[in-house]
């Protein structure tokens, strides 16, 4: 532990005030959470500290608010919950951060050490329960441990592949008094390992020898800030780029070499280009099943270069021909100096032709959700942030919302947590108070964290909530239609709440927008700063296409043609038990 000034007079802290002070020294400027019995000392210290607190209405929303800050701004963010139900409520958001590699610090109150293990009131084994949902976790047994644990928590959360860290803090440790001669230095991320020069040279040679290379980019590129390097590599070597959901915004939408999102709901052209590739350059990706489809059929002709900071991702799903566990940005900076320029005229022409032949099905008319996405994007300010929920609307947004920059399209990619968008948007709005945040959610997802309308109203956040309302758990309904013989079970809502009335009940202006859409009503959301809700009617049975049937290869995607869909339904029925909806 490094002490800054050992000769200074000791300052007395409580465990609680020490934790708050250490958070402030890490640059934390806002904490989201809910107080309760086991974290009251923490809130007492917070109240006297000048640190901003946002009172959410469900601990899960506190976790997602922190994620919204971390995802949109970069760096770590913090949230608080009390013991027992507070901690269990928080865990979904923590698990979500783990799967998308988002650095958040969750601080949970715990019953006093003397009561731990006695089934005390609001006691749950938060430490044990959070092991698989965190990058690491701590149970703090003395106030002095905080001097080491807090900087370590931030170092762990921010180093290498980022992720959530949970600190469980018993009430008596919060109340303990401690003399601190000087505070430790804030935790900073470790310097990532340098890629091996000879390996990079081999990669450059492999790229030079390839006739049909493809860059496959994802969240790791965003985490390392390698957007510019990816674009440079693509441009210099004439390499087409496909992105995962987490990588949207890395490439310029207008770039002729950019093919958009791959995988289950990617365009046919995108998946065909990967299929035809002879070299897949995988950058900051983990070969997620939603991106690859059946792994045996993914880029079957391609050799693979894999760069990822997490060594355990290398070879986990697909064995690469050459790989390096390193920071993608550092590696690309050097790789880009080693690769020569290449035109790849034939491959580029083939890619261009495929894009022309197999684009995303253009929206049939104005009622198609894809058209609505484009319309809303045109109405929103050019620098608006978007927070999307999980389901059909998420995929329509990924397909049609023009994501111009990274960290502007917030989505729960790995865990696929419905209820994400509203609280994540709150974090984004707090981190960027001068920027409008657009929430794209469904009528299913909206109900999962609808209580946060209170938080939004209380803080007058500039959030435009678009509830894309089709009266269904749409992606479940779609899978039942396509893969379960049209046996619709529990996917239709018999009661459809009046979302506009609900929003007004929370003090948020709202409009209902029936089909066909009134342009003026849609535009009214963006007329003034502040929260607004639009309850937008969607056709009830519209499906997201293309769709790769669960368990199939990406090139076996089905399209909007009913005949094709029926064939696919017949052939995959009964073998789609892994077809969980997002």
């Amino acid at each position: 532990m490094q002490y800054e000034n050992p000769r200074a007079a000791a300052t007395q802290y409580s465990g609680a005030s020490l934790l708050i002070e250490l958070l402030k020294r890490q640059g934390i400027d806002v904490v989201a959470g809910i107080p309760g019995g086991a974290n009251l000392p923490l809130y007492d210290a917070l109240g006297q500290s000048g640190l901003r607190h946002v009172l959410v209405r469900h601990e899960q929303a506190g976790g997602f608010l922190a994620q919204g800050i971390a995802r949109s701004r970069g760096g770590a963010a913090a949230c608080f919950a009390t013991s027992g139900p507070g901690a269990t409520n928080l865990l979904t958001a923590v698990a979500d951060a783990k799967l998308d590699s988002i650095p958040i610090i969750a601080v949970t109150g715990q019953v006093p050490m003397g009561l731990v293990g006695t089934d005390a009131f609001q006691e749950v084994d938060t430490y044990g329960m959070s092991i698989p949902a965190t990058k690491h976790n701590f149970l703090v047994r003395s106030a002095a441990e905080l001097l080491e644990v807090v900087p370590e928590a931030f170092r762990i959360a921010l180093s290498g592949r980022p992720g959530p860290v949970l600190i469980d803090l018993p009430k008596d440790v919060q109340q303990a008094r401690i003399d601190v001669p000087s505070l430790p230095a804030p935790g900073v991320p470790d310097t990532p390992p340098e890629p091996d020069g000879a390996l990079l040279a081999s990669m450059a040679r492999m790229i030079a020898a390839s006739e049909r290379p493809v860059l496959y980019v994802g969240g790791g590129v965003v985490a390392s800030g390698a957007e510019e390097e990816v674009r440079a590599l693509s441009a210099a070597c004439g390499i087409p780029v496909v992105s995962t959901l987490m990588g949207l915004g890395i490439m310029d939408l207008e770039d002729p070499l950019y093919l958009g999102m791959i995988g289950m709901h990617g365009s046919r052209a995108t998946n065909i280009v990967v299929d035809r590739s002879d070299l897949l350059v995988a950058l900051g990706v983990r070969f997620d099943d939603r991106a690859t489809g059946a792994i045996a059929g993914f880029a079957p002709r391609a050799r693979v270069i894999h760069l990822d900071i997490d060594e355990a991702e290398i070879g986990k799903i697909r064995r690469p021909d050459i790989s390096a566990a390193c920071d993608v940005r550092r590696a690309l900076k050097r790789l880009n100096r080693l690769v020569g320029r290449a035109e790849r005229v034939a491959w580029k022409a083939e890619v261009t032709a495929l894009k022309r032949e197999h684009p995303l099905d253009p929206p049939r008319d104005d009622s198609h959700p894809g058209a609505l996405m484009k319309r809303l994007a045109a109405l929103a300010p050019a620098d608006a942030l978007v927070s999307v929920d999980v389901g059909q609307h998420q995929m329509w947004a990924a397909q049609w919302w023009p994501v111009k920059r990274t960290r502007t399209f917030l989505t729960s990619g790995g865990l696929g947590t419905m209820g994400f968008s509203l609280p994540a948007a709150m974090g984004a709005a707090i981190a960027s108070p001068d920027t409008t945040v657009v929430v794209l959610t469904g009528d299913g997802s909206m109900l999962i964290n609808i209580q946060e309308l209170a938080t939004i109203a209380e803080n007058q956040l500039d959030i435009k909530i678009c509830v894309l309302n089709n009266g269904h758990l749409g992606l479940v309904r779609q899978q039942q239609e396509l893969f379960y013989g049209r046996r619709y079970v529990a996917s239709r809502f018999e009661v459809r709440p009046d979302f506009a009335a609900i929003a007004r009940g929370f003090g948020i202006p709202a409009r209902s927008v029936p089909l066909p859409y009134d342009q003026d009503v849609l535009a009214s959301a963006f007329a003034e700063r502040g929260p607004m809700l639009l309850d937008i009617e969607l056709p009830e049975t519209e499906n997201v296409y293309p769709m790769v049937p669960p368990g199939k290869s990406n090139v076996e995607a089905i399209s909007a043609s009913p005949a094709l869909a029926m064939t696919a339904a017949a052939s995959s029925n009964g073998s789609s038990s892994n077809g969980g909806a997002r």
Binding site: G128, I131, P132, H136, N137, L139, E311, A312, G315, K316
Partner: protein, 113 residues
């Protein structure tokens, strides 16, 4: 006694109450097989040496990489590739499970007697 070839992975870990949960939890959550564990404090109790008997199959590399990511794991060493019976004949650390088996058999024989 397992018919499958096993290997022993030796870990040096920080010795605190949560370490064992982190390690066994990794095995259950990622669906790795764990055939046996031996663990004892070393060096005055700050650290523990932990011996894991695992199947020596294609997942071993993932197991080693995932163990290496755990905060409380200070080092990971794959001792040797061998079968259980081979381990028993070997000397040194790899023999630990052989000794354990011998002891357990002796206890069982005592109980039956």
């Amino acid at each position: 006694m397992s018919a499958l070839p096993n290997t022993i992975v030796k870990l040096m870990v920080r010795n605190h109450p949560g370490t064992m949960s982190h390690i066994t939890g990794l095995f259950s959550r990622r669906g790795f097989n764990l055939e046996g564990i031996l663990c004892a404090p070393v060096g005055g109790g700050a650290d523990s040496a932990m011996y894991l008997m695992v199947r020596n199959d294609e997942r071993l590399e993932q197991i080693v990489k995932q163990l290496g990511k755990l905060y409380d794991v200070k080092s990971v060493t794959v001792l040797i590739d061998h079968t259980w019976s081979h381990a028993y004949k070997d000397g040194g650390e790899a023999n630990l499970f052989g000794h354990l088996e011998e002891l357990l058999n002796a206890f069982e024989a005592e109980e039956r007697a």
